[in-house]
Amino acid sequence: MKPDGPMKLVADLLDLPLIDSEGCYCGIVDDVEFSGSKELKLKALLVGAGAYSGRMPRWLYRILTKVAGDRVTRVPMNRIRSIASAVTLDCPGSELGLQRSEKTAAKWIPKWGAM
């Protein structure tokens, strides 16, 4: 599916995994951003726990964001190569500000011993 073609927002897009140009998972489509007033157009995909707010009860959102933070990363539609069983990007995820928590977690992992 092409990013600028017609699509079913919920059935085709929401909650799909994102895979960057290096083949790495870098998040899930948690929400979408529109532009325009008369004619709505998809502007960006939103990734991160902060994007859950419209999709769940407030009490649950507060608990989740206390644990996972409330960061939201924008993935502009022009950086999307294709949409199928995953959304593939045309660049590494780190270029768009994705995978920041991976870098934090990586500080705790020693780089030795694995075959």
Partner: protein
């Protein structure tokens, strides 16, 4: 299809079939109801074959693991409920497996149980850290083949084969009181739960992605599911039949996991005992690995993190931190001193409650032409899938009432 790879895959599945719950419930089922529950094991095995084959096919064709697609199918809220339920179920199961492995090491070496729990958890973590995915699977699965001693023991005690064969026919024993009937019902539910544990499907599907399965691997997937699970199930049935022959007439209802090893000791002596304990050790340790990794896969896939043991641990940092943290959490549960049999019963209960949430998305995904194209569920897979879904839903609804009414199957 590489014959060696296929054979190793089947043998790995056979050696990895039995876990602590199947061990305990097979022995108890045999001692309590003779051969009358063999058909439930056989029936449940067909179910796990159907769902394993589906999950492998989804991995090979959609190129996405079940939990990724599950969130997309169910949405965020229901997906979160399924994730949370599955984390709790798998965590309790992992704790039961770690407790089981520690008990078995105590039987083998005499070393203190809680010390063994810490040592073995560290060793298992180390093995996952050091070894590539395929070696992790193979080592635990192939060493679990020591469990074949139970099948050999069954031959060695010259059981009534006609009665064992009759046990494969669906039946309810005659002349049971109401309480005994409910206990029989509880055992049916427990065996369905133990054989169809959700972690098996999550681990199998993620393993298919780790090994980069594609359409060319569909036949391997099918053969491994059918033969691996089918032959593995015969080991569980051997434990049941041995128990029916040896424990039932002696009025023994095995109360601790170590009792099952007597089944091999009686015909074969010390060597039978040692082989049985070694088989149990690796089979249950392998199950501990699978339950923990299944949880880590589910969490990483649900939130879109990098995941997989085909990467080095530092290349998928959040996934690595997650599986280590889950092992530590399971160890802490064991260190509370809770009885392993209690953990097994809780694992069975939590698992059966989660089963409908686990298998419904898989059924829907495997039947969705958008993901599966021409490899969508055929009539047989579709029919069997929905029949088993109905069975596990009924089992899930009746699990807690039956558990309470029968004092956990103790009558």
């Amino acid at each position: 299809m590489n014959p060696l790879e296929l054979t190793l895959g089947i043998m790995t599945a056979v050696g990895g079939f039995v876990d602590i719950s199947e061990l305990v419930f097979a022995a108890k089922a045999g001692s309590t109801f003779g051969y009358a529950l063999i058909w439930v094991f056989a029936f449940s095995t067909v179910g796990i074959i159907v769902f394993s084959e589906m999950s492998g096919r989804v991995a090979a064709i959609a190129k996405q693991p079940v939990f990724n697609l599950m969130r997309h199918r169910l949405g965020l809220k229901l997906g979160l409920v399924t994730l949370l339920a599955s984390i709790i179920s798998n965590l309790v199961t992992c704790a039961a497996e770690i407790g089981g492995v520690s008990l078995i090491m105590n039987y083998l070496t005499g070393a203190p149980y809680l010390v063994m729990a810490v040592v073995l958890t560290l060793l298992i973590i180390l093995s996952i850290w050091v070894l590539p995915f395929k070696w992790i699977e193979r080592i635990y699965g192939l060493l679990g083949l020591f469990m074949i001693v139970f099948a050999a023991a069954l031959v060695g005690i010259h059981p009534p084969w006609a009665k064992i064969a009759a046990g494969f026919v669906p039946q309810v024993p005659h002349g049971l009181s109401t309480k005994e009937l409910m206990t029989f019902g509880y055992f049916c539910v427990a065996i369905v739960s133990a054989v169809l544990f959700p972690y098996e499907v999550y681990f199998y599907s993620s393993g298919g992605i780790e090994e980069e399965w594609g359409p060319k691997d569909l036949l391997t997937n099918r053969i491994t599911s059918i033969l691996g699970m089918g032959l593995g199930s015969l080991l569980a049935i051997s434990i049941l039949a041995n128990s029916a022959q040896l424990f039932g007439p002696a009025n023994i209802s095995p109360e601790i996991p170590g009792s099952a090893a007597l089944e091999a000791a009686i015909p074969f002596g010390k060597w039978g005992l040692i082989l049985a304990l070694l088989g149990m050790l690796f089979a249950v340790a392998g199950a501990a690995v699978e339950t923990c990794m299944a949880n880590a896969y589910s969490i990483a896939q649900f939130f879109g993190w990098k995941w997989g043991r085909h990467k080095k641990p530092w290349d998928a940092p959040r996934f690595t931190v997650t599986w280590i943290a889950l092992f530590v959490a399971a160890l802490l549960v064991v260190l509370t001193g809770i009885n392993v049999m209690t953990l097994v019963e809780l694992a069975i209960l939590f698992s059966i409650l989660v089963l409908p949430l686990t298998y419904l998305p898989l059924l829907l995904l495997a039947g969705d032409r958008q993901y599966m194209r021409e490899h969508v569920n055929g009539r047989l897979a579709k029919g069997l899938g929905w029949v088993y879904f109905a069975v596990i839903t009924v089992a899930a609804l009746s699990a807690i009432p039956l558990y309470l009414l029968t004092s956990g199957g103790n009558g």
